[in-house]
């Protein structure tokens, strides 16, 4: 009972197990990787600030983002998902997070971002608490590996104040 089929299957099983071990090791090494991210974001213009018919405040912004995310990439990184959120506090919630912009970075060569964008997604409040509100811009990133654990991190960037009255 020691045929070539048996030997082939044993080889395949052991090979798969060792591949798993190699992937785990690659993912574990990533945990020791300490990136140094440099990023800035500033709101350059508040395009429109008004109250929607359903009573929610809505803001569309223009801002520039400069972020150097090259240090996030390691040998087992598949891509990096980066997004900018506006975070503020109001009487309803201790933390509101609204995503304004996002981007997928497929490789290290494209990880140095210098962009000025109109907010991809508008900042819409749940209610009407945005007038005169201080809002924090926060950059989040998800490092997606080729195999293993996804790493998530964030960095607080600049703050800005919304005007005390609607623009239209």
């Amino acid at each position: 009972m020691h045929s070539w089929v048996q030997r082939l299957l044993t080889t395949a099983t052991t090979a798969a197990l060792l591949l798993l071990a190699a992937c785990c090791a690659a993912s574990a090494l990533d945990a020791f990787h300490v990136p140094s991210v440099q990023a800035q974001a500033h709101v350059t213009k508040i395009n429109r600030f008004h109250k929607q018919l359903n009573g929610n405040d809505k803001v569309t912004l223009t801002f520039n983002v400069s972020a150097n995310l090259e240090s996030l990439f390691t040998w087992s990184t598949k891509q990096v998902f980066v997004f900018l959120t506006a975070e503020y506090e109001n009487s309803k919630n201790s933390l509101n997070q609204v995503s304004l912009w996002d981007h997928i970075i497929p490789d290290k060569d494209k990880a140095n971002l210098q962009v000025e964008v109109k907010s991809k997604y508008p900042l819409i409040d749940q209610g009407s608490s945005l007038r005169g509100k201080k809002v924090q811009l926060v950059l989040h990133w998800h490092v997606m590996p080729k195999a293993g654990v996804m790493i998530r991190d964030r960095m607080a960037l600049s703050e800005f104040n919304l005007p005390d009255s609607y623009t239209s």
């Binding site: 070539w4 052991t14 591949l19 690659a26 040998w75 195999a147």
Partner: protein, 96 residues
Amino acid sequence: MDWQGQKLAEMLMQLLLVASAVAAFVVGYAMADFQLMLLVYAGGVVLTALVTVPNWPFFNRHPLKWLDAAEADRHPRPQVSAAPSTAGKKKAGKNK
């Protein structure tokens, strides 16, 4: 494949696979290329399969030495001449 050959094939398989996994990881990490690691490892697996799966002649260097067929005639199988009564006695003796 004889008994020694089976043992050799098993050892070779494990040794080659572990060695190629370690080599692939080191090469991949050093060159910072995940795909290269997979390629090196795939190469190692194919090599291992080529070495250990076919029944190569060097797995058959220790053939089993069977006794000559004539030996069986010279030493016939002992006949069980025991009647059931003797068996019963033996068992009883053990129980004492």
